[in-house]
Symmetry: C2
Subunit: 139 residues, 2 copies
DNA sequence: TTAAAAATTGCAATGGCTGTGCATCGGGTT
DNA sequence: AACCCGATGCACAGCCATTGCAATTTTTAA
């Protein structure tokens, strides 16, 4: 049963599986692209914005999702992949933002290259967003 | 005379040199780090936020400054350097954001490496922000 | 030099977004 | 069953970019 799988996914991360959270997790699972809080709100018209906000916050704290700042002003959220180390170390993978459909994709296979900074700077994390046109919008 | 230099800088970029603009340009010139609209507003308490906003927008359109999204929610602005091609092609250089003093620096010598994207993605520009601690705050 | 036109500026206000305080609800525990 | 604690929903505050409009300043033209 699919609901069971979602439940387990939450329990694995030490998140109490409420109805709301199962729905949000399901929505995130069905998405290829990262989604913003507003996107979620549109998908769940019946629910409160703040609840969704806090749900995402909880997911993030527990390491179930990571947030992406793609420069649109609104953070986007995506499920962490198997090997996602976004909460352990720096978030290393590249994100792609399509200027046509405004969707943002994780490119987990593409890591951010090391940057040799000038001596006085100590780098801790890095965020690389490539903008352009995605496959769906290119045709 | 210094004012003359600032004036020329504006005229070069086809910007009409008003008092406001000269002051903003002067403020930008004196800064090593990139500054936000709010920073500017604090420096010019007598002037209106919207005017400063539009001044920066004009500067940006004319290629005098470029804006940086360092993930703090508020865009920051920095003067374009000699070889800055931010409006011609993609903005290639790296920015550094200090989590202690919240300042953002341009690292014009550090270019964003080319990323080989999966076939369906067409990259047009890229934004790389490294976060950490700057020299002033490291001590 | 003066009048008209255009650009700039300042004020008021809007809309989008994150985030907080507080009361309520519901599920789990004793 | 009574209790407790976390989750939820509502109201609201705060920050930011952005627009409309009127007043002012600067440029252009006569």
């Amino acid at each position: 049963m699919v609901i069971k799988e979602l439940e387990n996914k939450l329990k694995e991360k030490d998140i109490r599986p409420t109805a709301m959270r199962l729905l949000v997790l399901e929505a995130l699972s069905g998405q290829e692209a990262a989604i913003s809080l507003s996107d979620l709100e549109k998908a769940f018209e019946k629910s409160d914005r703040v609840t969704l906000f806090r749900t995402l916050k909880t997911f993030q704290e527990k390491g179930l999702v990571h947030s992406i700042d793609d420069g649109t002003g609104a953070p986007k959220y995506a499920l962490c992949e198997e090997g996602c180390e976004c909460n352990i170390e720096r978030d290393l993978h590249v994100h792609f933002h399509c200027r046509v459909c405004s969707e943002t994709f994780c490119l987990p296979k593409y890591k951010i290259p090391e940057i040799d900074l000038p001596g006085m700077f100590i780098g801790e994390e890095a965020n690389l967003v490539v903008k352009g046109v995605c496959g769906k919008c290119a045709d």
